[in-house]
């Protein structure tokens, strides 16, 4: 049943494309990203189902995709080096209130983005209150605030 092979191919190709696109493409839900995700869903549907609209085909494809997901997460767990390849590593963006420009530029993150995350997650007001800001593997920015009395 070729549907299984098609599901495999689409999964690997999408994985590769989004991996190359970089972290921010998936975490940030701006209008651009929302539209992108919506349209990509439509584009893959035809490739996956083809002419076959039976329940059996749908279920087989879904099972294949879920198994691939489980398989890759198991792989990452057993082989951390592989995990790095598949899922990236965290990047430090702010150290003691100071923005690390090269990393921020390469990651396409502005001071504004970091302040947004600081307000959302910690209720902070200014960059000086941010001890560390990290761009996580998932594309989110995590904020460690300066502790009281530091």
């Amino acid at each position: 049943m070729e549907s299984v092979l098609r599901a495999l191919a689409i999964y690997m190709i999408l994985l590769l494309i989004f991996r190359i696109a970089g972290k921010r493409s998936l975490a940030q839900i701006t209008t651009f990203d929302f539209v992108l995700l919506l349209v990509i869903g439509e584009a893959t549907q035809q490739a996956l189902l083809g002419n076959d609209f039976s329940i059996t085909n749908s279920v087989v494809i879904i099972m294949t995709l879920v198994l691939l997901d489980i398989g890759f997460s198991q792989l990452q767990h057993r082989f951390p080096r592989m995990g790095r390849l598949l899922d990236d590593v965290p990047v430090l963006l702010v150290e003691n209130g100071r923005l690390l420009q090269p990393q921020a530029n390469k990651s396409r993150i502005s001071e504004s983005d970091i302040l947004h995350a600081a307000r959302m997650s910690q209720g902070l007001e200014r960059m000086e209150q941010v001890k560390f800001a990290v761009l996580e593997r998932t594309g989110e920015i995590s904020i460690i605030p300066v502790q009281q009395g530091e």
Binding site: M1, E2, S3, V4, L5, N51, D52, F53, S54, I55, T56, N57, V60, M63, T64, V66, L67, I70
Partner: protein, 166 residues
């Protein structure tokens, strides 16, 4: 709410462990299903492609054991045309089975189609060829098991079983 040290958490490790066992079992089952699917248990694969020949060997049918509903598949019939033939081959298929299918194309096109009782007869012009190969592109409209009978009018016949998945 339990307390684990300072943490108020509704944990139930026994339940978690049983769940993990069930999960692993479920994954194995899914892998088996996918492998079976690739092999053709749900259609389109080596487990599904089959062939049946009439007792005297003049009629050979290549069919799919497993198909999915409303998905087009091929039915191939090869007939050994006997020497004093009238330049025509009359192939019949039982009406009950045909009613469960949508026939998209028949290649080559029959010159005539008629119903004789419980059989639908397709007439093909063969000239002085020794063999006739007919391809039916069909799709099952129903689900479940079907027994299809077919044969040559006044000649040999055979049958096969086909399962259609939802």
């Amino acid at each position: 709410m339990q307390r684990l040290g300072d943490l108020g958490i509704d944990q139930d490790l026994g339940f978690e462990r049983r769940q993990w066992v069930v999960q692993r079992g479920g994954w194995t089952l899914m892998v088996v299903v996918i492998v079976a699917a690739v092999l053709g248990l749900f259609g389109s694969g080596p487990l599904s492609s089959a062939e049946v020949t009439s007792a005297d060997g003049t009629l050979r049918v290549e069919y799919e054991r497993f198909v999915r509903r409303e998905v087009q598949h091929e039915l191939s019939v090869t007939v050994a045309v006997n020497a004093q033939a009238s330049g025509e081959v009359e192939l019949w298929v039982d009406v009950a089975s045909l009613d469960t299918m949508v026939v998209d194309t028949i290649s080559p096109q029959p010159t005539e189609e008629r119903i004789e009782g419980e059989r639908q007869v397709f007439v093909f012009a063969v000239g002085d060829a020794e063999q006739l190969s007919v391809r039916f592109d069909v799709a099952r409209e129903d689900m479940g098991r079907n027994r299809v009978s077919l044969g040559i009018v006044g000649g040999s016949e055979t049958s096969y079983t086909q399962v259609s998945y939802p």
